[in-house]
């Protein structure tokens, strides 16, 4: 019995580990491929030929480094998650989304076509949204997920615009082609705009100022998700794109200044914000933002050393920050809290986690013999080579100091701090299961290994640096670590870190005094715009869709008048007013009849009189047609006008019987100056149009065609009739149908009226 339950439990644990097989298999495959096939790998096949989109894959050192991080950290996250999420009811969904996310990340870093890369990029944003909001019953989770989506999504739109512009400038969407051709279009004036748009996309994705605020809020996600998406992989995608383009644009001053300044500002702001936090996970999140800022700054720095520094920091950060997130997860799992005020002296309850935290923290602080130290060395050398500004160096000391303090908080304060009997605080700390210890342990051991023997990782770092800076000599990697310079810089950072650690609580309180400054910060603007945008949309809708028919008509007529007037102004010089031909008496009479009818109709009050007066216009037109060679028109107009008056009279009679609750409009006949002005302008502009058109040369070819074809083709002599019933017979048939349906609607009017009488 006992044996069986034990067996069951073991089966359960193994079953939960199944999803981890996917990244593990991919990792094995990748390592094997790296060992067999030299970089870079190319693969290409036509996808959408009409749009010029090829599905071309390109894997060089930089992509390979990212691939290793994605599947390597992915394997660790899946193993860790199998235990961390064991009791979580949404476990399956998390793993499903994580697999999709991994696929999207792999797609993003291997695709050579920028638009394909963009699709995968957006997919990661979407999956990040779903994973942050996985606990969708919590309002905070929903808000954070939406914030991440809106910030990275709108950045993604800018990125798309930037990509399209870059593609227009460079004549290709292939990253490799663009990098090759870059020297040809570096002078293009549109390039800065394209790069600025790409910056917005990359900065929003990689949580750079002013888009940095979404990342700490994204900590609402489960810890494995935070470690994977929001520290190791997705947030580095923006840096990845910048690093990719670095080979093409590193010589541009705009490139260097933007990246160095934004990166530095982000790192400093994040370092300052770190001190305010009391939640271990949020502390780690802010320090991740600081590292991302440093990475951006390094990408911007010119020189080969900077490329190596980026590659080294990518790796080092993944190897120490992911374990620290796992440590935070273990603490959460073992005690139910992540507040650093409650967590002290945990080494007695969680010795293995304590060891992991210590090793990871050593690397984070950049102490010698760790991989963090190697990265710090590369960074120091890069700054020296690039002759970075002093201000940037001061900023780096502050950022390093804070990261030392964060490392100390995570390792020393939490695990070795004075024990204030956590049991009294209601915590029942216990060590995490094996599946939650092995992954971080493996990562910190790897970090130590690469720190002790950096030559092991050199080929990969060299290949990655070569992808960013084609001039990078891959045999020089080992020589690039300058130990003394780092030790000097470290001394300052260690002292500063110690001070910050001791004064953490006081500094936090001090910082909280400046809390009111937040109302001018980017996050405050984010919330403000969430309120203001719908309000603005509503205002605009109210303005345009006011529901008042007369005002709609007014807008339409005004715009039409302006268009006609603009046309007249543009074309006027080539035109001439027609001469005053002799006027025949019947036409003059008809014109008078028309004008008089129209003028009186404007101001008549009684509806019946209005109807009769408006009829004058129709009859006047008929007379006019009769004397200008259009008898067919005249007869039709007479007939139609007569029938119409009958119909209107019927309607008016019915209306007279309808009691109106709100009455007829009393002011209907009153003079409306604005309407009169608009109407006059419209009429006058059309009169001018007719007069000017009459002076233009006339293309008679259609009339000639009908005149020549009428007898031989249509066998008739009345050309107007032939056009209607022969040349355009089907049209006329449709017209008859329209008339028929309209009369169907009118028919009841007379029927019931007749029946009633």
């Amino acid at each position: 019995m006992n044996y069986e339950s034990c067996d069951n439990r073991r089966g359960e644990v193994l079953g939960r580990l199944l999803p981890a097989l996917i990244p593990a298999a991919l990792l094995t495959l990748l390592l094997a491929a790296l060992a067999i096939e030299p970089l870079p790998w190319r693969l290409s096949w036509t996808w959408i030929p009409s749009l010029g989109v090829d599905l071309s894959l390109y894997v060089d050192g930089l992509s390979a480094q990212f691939l290793l991080l994605i599947v390597g950290i992915g394997t660790m996250v899946f193993v860790y998650g199998s235990a961390y999420l064991a009791e979580n009811s949404r476990r399956n969904r998390v793993f499903g989304l994580l697999v999709l996310f991994m696929a999207a990340m792999i797609g993003a870093v291997v695709s050579d076509h920028l638009l394909v890369l963009f699709v995968f990029w957006e997919l990661t944003s979407l999956l990040s949204f779903l994973l942050i909001g996985i606990d969708h019953e919590q309002e905070e989770g929903r808000r954070s997920a939406l914030q991440a989506l809106l910030v990275t999504g709108s950045g993604g739109l800018c990125l798309l615009a930037g990509i399209i512009l870059l593609g227009q400038i460079g004549g290709s969407y292939s990253l490799q082609t663009l990098i090759e051709r870059a020297p040809l279009f570096l002078e293009d004036v549109r390039l800065n705009a394209a790069l600025a748009l790409i910056f917005v996309g990359a900065f929003s994705k990689s949580a750079q100022f002013p888009f940095h605020f979404w990342l700490p809020n994204a900590m609402a996600a489960p810890t494995p998700v935070s470690a994977y998406l929001h520290s190791a992989t997705m947030v580095k995608l923006g840096i990845y794109l910048l690093a990719r383009l670095d080979a093409a644009f590193s010589e541009l001053l705009f490139w260097e200044y933007s990246l160095v300044s934004i990166g530095t500002v982000t790192a400093v702001l994040a370092a300052i914000q770190t001190v305010r936090e009391r939640d271990l996970k949020r502390i780690l999140a802010w320090s991740t933002v600081a590292t991302l800022g440093t990475l951006t700054m390094l990408v911007g720095l010119p020189g080969n050393g900077a490329a190596l520094a980026v590659a080294a920091l990518f790796f080092a950060h993944a190897l120490y920050k992911a374990p620290l997130f796992f440590v935070a997860g273990n603490l959460d799992h073992g005690t139910g809290t992540r507040a650093i005020d409650k967590l002290t002296g945990m080494r007695r309850y969680m010795p293995w986690t304590a060891a992991i935290a210590l090793l990871a923290a050593l690397s984070m602080a950049g102490l010698p013999l760790t991989f963090g130290f190697i990265a710090k060395g590369a960074i120091a050398l890069a700054k020296e080579q690039a002759e970075a500004l002093l201000l940037v160096s001061y900023a780096a000391v502050l950022v390093n100091g804070v990261s030392v303090a964060v490392a100390a908080i995570a390792a020393i304060h939490v695990f070795w701090g004075r024990d204030r009997s956590p049991l009294q605080a209601g915590l029942h700390p216990h060590e995490a299961p094996l599946a939650m210890l092995l992954p971080p342990l493996l990562l910190v051991i790897l970090g130590l290994l690469f720190g002790l023997a950096p030559t092991m990782i050199d080929p990969l770092l060299g290949a990655a640096a070569h992808a960013m800076a084609p001039g990078f000599d891959q045999t020089m990697v080992t020589l690039s670590y300058d130990f003394l310079a780092v030790l000097e810089a470290m001394a300052g950072a260690l002292v500063l870190g110690g001070v910050i650690l001791l004064g953490w609580r006081r500094l936090g309180l001090l910082m909280d005094r400046f809390r009111h400054l937040e109302i001018v910060g980017p996050e405050a603007w984010y919330w403000r715009s969430l309120v203001l945008l719908p309000r603005l949309a509503a205002r605009q809708t109210r303005l345009l869709q006011h529901g008042q028919l007369p005002r709609y008509v007014m807008t339409l007529v005004s715009v039409a008048t302006l268009l006609v007037l603009a046309l007249l102004l543009v074309a006027r010089p080539g035109w001439a007013w027609p001469e005053l031909h002799s006027l025949t008496a019947p036409v003059a009479g008809a014109a008078l009849l028309i004008a008089a009818g129209a003028l009186v109709a404007m101001f008549v009050r009684d509806r019946l009189v209005l109807l009769l007066v408006s009829g004058l216009v129709g009859y006047g037109s008929a007379v006019l047609f009769l004397f200008t060679g259009a008898p067919d028109l005249a007869f039709t107009q007479f007939a139609v006008e007569t029938v119409f008056v009958v119909v209107v009279a019927a309607v008016l009679l019915r209306l007279r019987r309808t009691p109106l609750a709100l009455g007829a409009v009393p002011t209907a006949a009153r003079l409306r100056p604005l309407a009169l002005a608009v109407a006059t302008a419209f009429g006058a502009s059309l009169t001018a149009l007719v007069l000017l058109v009459a002076g233009l040369p006339f293309d008679n070819s259609l009339a000639v065609f009908f005149s020549e074809q009428s007898v031989p083709a249509a066998h008739g002599r009345n050309v107007v009739n032939l056009i209607l019933v022969d040349f355009r017979a089907v049209d006329t048939l449709g017209e008859i149908a329209v008339l028929f349906f309209a009369l169907l609607a009118v028919l009841p009017l007379f029927k019931r009226f007749g029946g009633g009488a």
Partner: protein, 128 residues
């Protein structure tokens, strides 16, 4: 001749527009009638007033001699009939609306786009 017609059609169109801008549904419709008449005249004159003879081919001829342009006449003929159908239908529609809503004031006929104090989502007015 063209001056007289151009002035007349300008006045008709102005009058039609003025009436169409009215709040009174029926005046609005009469305005549409006038506008239709004015536009027909515009169409007709844009084909030039070359002759006052109707475009009919003589009994012993094969092509049209000196006569008015037949093409605008055909177009205007179609327009007259179609606008007649349109306006008859609109009149019946207007009658029905006035009977249902109990008002012929266009500013009050706004079931589709109701007024509301709510800035975000306008509430529908109560059915009367």
């Amino acid at each position: 001749m063209i001056w007289a017609i151009a002035l007349a059609l300008g006045i008709v169109i102005a009058a039609g527009t003025y009436l169409a801008l009215s709040r009174d549904l029926l005046r609005c419709l009469i305005g549409l009638v006038l506008l239709g008449n004015g536009i027909n005249l515009l169409l007709f004159t844009s084909g030039r007033l070359s002759s006052s003879l109707p475009p009919v081919i003589g009994a012993d001829e094969m092509v049209l001699g000196v006569a008015a342009n037949p093409l605008p006449q055909a177009l205007v003929l179609t327009a007259i009939v179609i606008s007649f159908a349109l306006l008859c239908f609109s009149l019946v529609l207007a009658l029905r609306i006035i009977q249902l809503a109990g008002s012929d004031d266009l500013t009050r006929l706004r079931a589709a786009e109701p007024t509301s104090q709510d800035a975000v989502k306008p509430a529908l007015e109560e059915e009367s």
